[in-house]
């Protein structure tokens, strides 16, 4: 590793907090459209997975993501108005963590960094939508005051278990998933010694023809 690269790794310790602070400052500006998109996409899927006829009237955002649902029970009883709400603070944590890690990683060409970051953000967004759906359905199924007719997700997952593990599920999505995505997309694809080639991270540029010829001359 040359001196310039060593210096780049040292810069990681300065760049990472700087990028994190930048992302955390920008997040309040992006928060509303991002979280509302998660909520509205959940709103599209909720009627599909519900056992009864459900209409999503509105999705709003305050400190929590608030849904306004009208449920028409299958036994022709009067329609119900339900307003489940889910926590939205941790959506930002997941996104900021992933973006900060991606931006702070040294030695990655910008084009590759951006394309892979977009891929990661899309995957993370889909996971957050699934978690949102999970939270809504589990909240409705677990609330004894709400006559919820049921849905596909709460049929598969025990509600009691959900209330025991809810905090950890949200932490998994907010902390583990961004780190896992970052590791899988950027860090782990690495060649080790004894694999027939000098160890090189695939996100780094391939050795040029000139340097390849030079190393061949050295081995002769």
């Amino acid at each position: 590793m040359c001196a310039r690269q060593k210096q780049r790794w040292r810069w990681l310790w300065i760049r990472l907090p700087a990028v994190a602070v930048g992302c955390a400052l920008l997040w309040p500006l992006v928060r509303a459209p991002y979280v509302l998109h998660v909520g509205r996409t959940c709103g599209v899927v909720i009627p599909i997975l519900s056992h009864a006829e459900v209409r999503v009237n509105d999705v709003t955002l305050s400190d929590r993501l608030q849904f306004d649902l009208t449920v028409r029970p299958p036994d022709n009883s009067p329609p119900l108005r339900l307003k489940p709400a889910i926590r939205s603070a941790l959506y930002g944590l997941g996104l900021i963590t992933f973006i900060a890690l991606v931006l702070a990683l040294p030695d990655v060409p910008w084009r590759r960094r951006v394309t892979r970051a977009l891929l990661g953000i899309v995957v993370l967004h889909v996971i957050q939508i699934l978690t949102g759906l999970f939270d809504v359905f589990m909240g409705l199924a677990g609330d004894s005051k709400v006559p919820w007719p049921g849905d596909t997700i709460s049929d598969l997952f025990p509600v009691e278990r959900y209330f025991e593990t809810r905090d950890y599920l949200s932490l998994l999505v907010a902390q583990v998933m961004p780190v896992l995505l970052w590791l899988v997309i950027f860090v782990y694809p690495i060649r080790r010694k004894g694999t027939g080639a000098a160890p090189r991270r695939p996100h780094q540029s391939r050795p040029s023809e000139r340097s390849r010829r030079r190393s061949q001359r050295m081995t002769r």
Binding site: M1, K6, W9, L12, W13, L16, P17, A20, A24, W27, A89, L90, G92, L93, I96, T97, A100, L101, A104, L105, E164, T165, D167, Y168, L171, L172, A174, Q175, V176, V179, L180, W182, L183, V184, V187, Y188, P189, I190, R191, R192, K193, G194, T195, G196, A197, A198, P199, R201, P202, S215, M218, T219
Partner: protein, 177 residues
Amino acid sequence: MVPRRPSLWRTVRAAGIFIVVAGVWFWSLTNTFSLEHLWDPFTRFVAATCAGIFRLLGADVLMLGDTLNVNGTSLTIFFGCNGLEAHGLYLAAILASAMSWRRKLTGLIVGSVAVFAVNLARVCLLFVAAGFDEEVFHYIHTVVAPLVVILFTMAFFLWWDSRDVRKTKAAVAMALD
């Protein structure tokens, strides 16, 4: 010459190890037995260390279980504040990486101490933030503080991993010479 194995397989394997280790770790955080015998004492240890730091700084500290009262500001150290998530992420990342076992073990010891120290700093800073507006404290508590701890943890892992790559590269360069 050892045949070259596709890096996709290595990535999938590393991701699998990460998921299994992180899964077991996070499961243990909800398991009653490990909660009672491991994580509750660990949380109390974090609280006691914080109390010690504040006492060293000359603050009036009262400690009742996991609850600390520092100069009139009272906070309870719950799960999420004890840094166990960051420890789990670090453990999973190190075990799934392509380092030698010796290096993994050294990295685990050194890194765990570093993560513990950063988490202590986070808890201490939360006491300072508690003196501000409630909304500011909430934002720092739920977004900024966990973000700093996770980023530090992963930066430490990356730094440790990069040093290993550097050594491997040096070994390959020596072999070529």
